[in-house]
């Protein structure tokens, strides 16, 4: 399979997978070896991405360099915005 066709197939599979559903995974192909990189939301999503790609025809092996995004604690982070200036704009 042509490299660009396989790339399109992989990106489509990653986008449409119930457990992946991601458009911003970086996909590189060298001689049938697919490297996935970028950030995902969870360990399950990371493993599901590699699994979804591995089963495609034309893919010989998958290097899974995806990392799970680290999230900070949400609470206590406030930012001030000065408002009520609409009349002066």
């Amino acid at each position: 399979m042509e490299r660009d066709a396989l790339l399109g197939l992989i990106r489509n599979r990653l986008a449409n997978s119930v457990e992946v559903g991601a458009l911003d995974i970086i996909v590189e192909i060298v001689d049938g070896t697919v490297r996935l990189s970028g950030e995902v939301d969870s360990r399950q999503q990371r493993e599901a991405a590699a699994g979804a790609v591995h089963e495609l025809a034309g893919v010989h092996s998958v290097i899974n360099d995806l990392v799970v995004r680290e999230m900070k604690r949400p609470d206590g982070h406030h930012q001030m915005i000065i408002s009520a200036e609409r009349g002066r704009r």
């Binding site: 119930v18 559903g21 995004r69 999230m71 982070h77 001030m80 915005i81 704009r89």
Partner: protein
Amino acid sequence: MIRVAAVGDLHFRESYRGGVRSAFRTVSREADLLLIAGDLTGIGRPEEAAVLRRELSIVSIPTVVVLGNHDYHSDCEEDIKSILRDGGIIVLDGDFHKLDIRGTSIGLAGTKGFCGGFGIRQITPFGEIGIKEFLGHVEEETEKLDRALAGLNTDIKLVILHYSPVIDTLAGESPELYPFLGCSMLSIPVDRHGTDLVVHGHAHHGVELGQTDGGVPVRNVAMQVLRRYYIVYDLVGTGG
């Protein structure tokens, strides 16, 4: 002071069950309302929305959302809206909602928005019908936002979009993607009607801070940018 919690791009999947509930456990104490700027679901499946609705039931403050492109992917956007609304979540799609918080009236206008590019590089309705239809969709979204804002005469006006109305918040994204991350046409009604804050998502690799040509603060609240499940904006000078 009005405290607005905001996030976008949760991309919720059923396997995340429990995660959102835990992340939003304290938001109702920290903020007066919660805004979610689209892409609530992974691939737009009603099953995802149903589980998310249960997860968000822990939030006791008003929760106002717009849908994003992921929520449209399975052609079930109307089902998703119904599921969320059944859970008491306010879903905006070219309409507005008003709240009163400690004597301050808050108006929220929201719509998904769409692509089209920015400034002098914005798409032009020239050539094939496909290009004209593409532009027609962002024009339609802009008109929806304009009509929604026109219906507001509140102390505070907030706008929720999924796509970006400004280029500022896209810094860090690949330039090739800019035309697909938003459109400056969306900023026209924001400046025309006067707005206190715009939040959007969609640009996972962008930055948080931006503003319209008219000086309206714009915040990219994609979870991937914030690296937290929400941020709280303290709107100062708003009474309340």
